[in-house]
Symmetry: C2
Subunit: 153 residues, 2 copies
DNA sequence: CACATTTAAATTGTGCGCAACTCGATTGCG
DNA sequence: CGCAATCGAGTTGCGCACAATTTAAATGTG
């Protein structure tokens, strides 16, 4: 795995590769967004809204702070998003009594029921990627490493 | 590569994997955005603006349509973005004489000069990813396949 | 030639992402 | 205790992404 075992990579190619990776990531993220848009249209959810619902379905009622930490989103993004979920009657806000700064988000019955309708979504997305399980694992591993490296940089 | 050569993957794990991949992609894309924001701050460019400048630096004057095809962006995104690049005096619009519908984007001298200042950006990004060349190649290959699969889906 | 269709760009409206800020509650330190 | 610092949520402002629509120009067909 040392550089001596392979011919050196020219600078220009290296820089080009970097551009391509960043661009590919950008493009892939938007491509996913497009397919999700389709898959979630019937549920009336956007992809970020779906992510929030996933958190609530899996972990139950959560303070805004906790949702933000799980999804790496701040209040500037979450506050209006949650407001829209509330207008859609999928979610309820409740200010905490112990700590009046904190607001806990609860699923409404409608929000809980939506879970059933959302069940086929991941399988549909999985099929749309066209990757094998192993490739998906590899992809996720690489993405995870990139993200934590970038986050510390 | 048939499923008989390995133990079957449980449904639940499969669905979870899908969620994780989509989420990782979303997170990685935003993480890249954050580091680019830093790297491009001195240039006064956002990442999408930088992508447009890269196209112009590499391929010269281009109609809006051609830029959009290279970056998979439509006029709804490009028109205001190009307007901002124009206000920054990096770019000039010129309506085509042969086809009056088309607008060609040219670099101004300032836009051309900015290329020099942008040279160290890709190396900085490359270092920030923390991946080896081979991993980058693998990542890009997977992302490219996912994107084209999703685009046809 | 006349008229329908297509095309390129721009515009409008909605939602996400993030920086910067405000407001009120809580915590911590002298 | 009192006051500064911190914290959670919300708000504002800007830019990107995308759907839908508009406008003007070009193309194609009868």
């Amino acid at each position: 795995m040392t550089s001596a075992t392979r011919p050196p990579v020219p600078d220009a190619e290296l820089l080009r590769l970097d551009h391509q990776v960043c661009f590919s990531l950008h493009a892939a993220s938007r491509a996913f967004g497009g397919v999700y848009r389709d898959a979630l249209k019937d549920l009336g959810l956007t992809y970020p809204q779906y992510l929030v619902m996933l958190v609530l379905w899996e972990h139950g009622s959560q303070p805004v702070k906790a949702i933000g930490e799980r999804l790496r989103l701040d209040s500037g993004t979450l506050s209006p998003l949650l407001k829209r979920l509330e207008s859609a009657a999928l979610v309820r806000r409740e200010r905490s009594t112990e700590d009046e700064r904190s607001v806990t988000i609860h699923l409404t019955p409608a929000g809980d029921e939506l879970r059933e309708a959302a069940l086929p979504v991941p399988r549909r997305m999985l099929a749309a990627t066209g990757l094998t399980i192993e490739e998906l694992r590899t992809l996720q591993g690489l993405l995870g490493r990139v993200t934590s490296a970038l986050d510390t940089a």
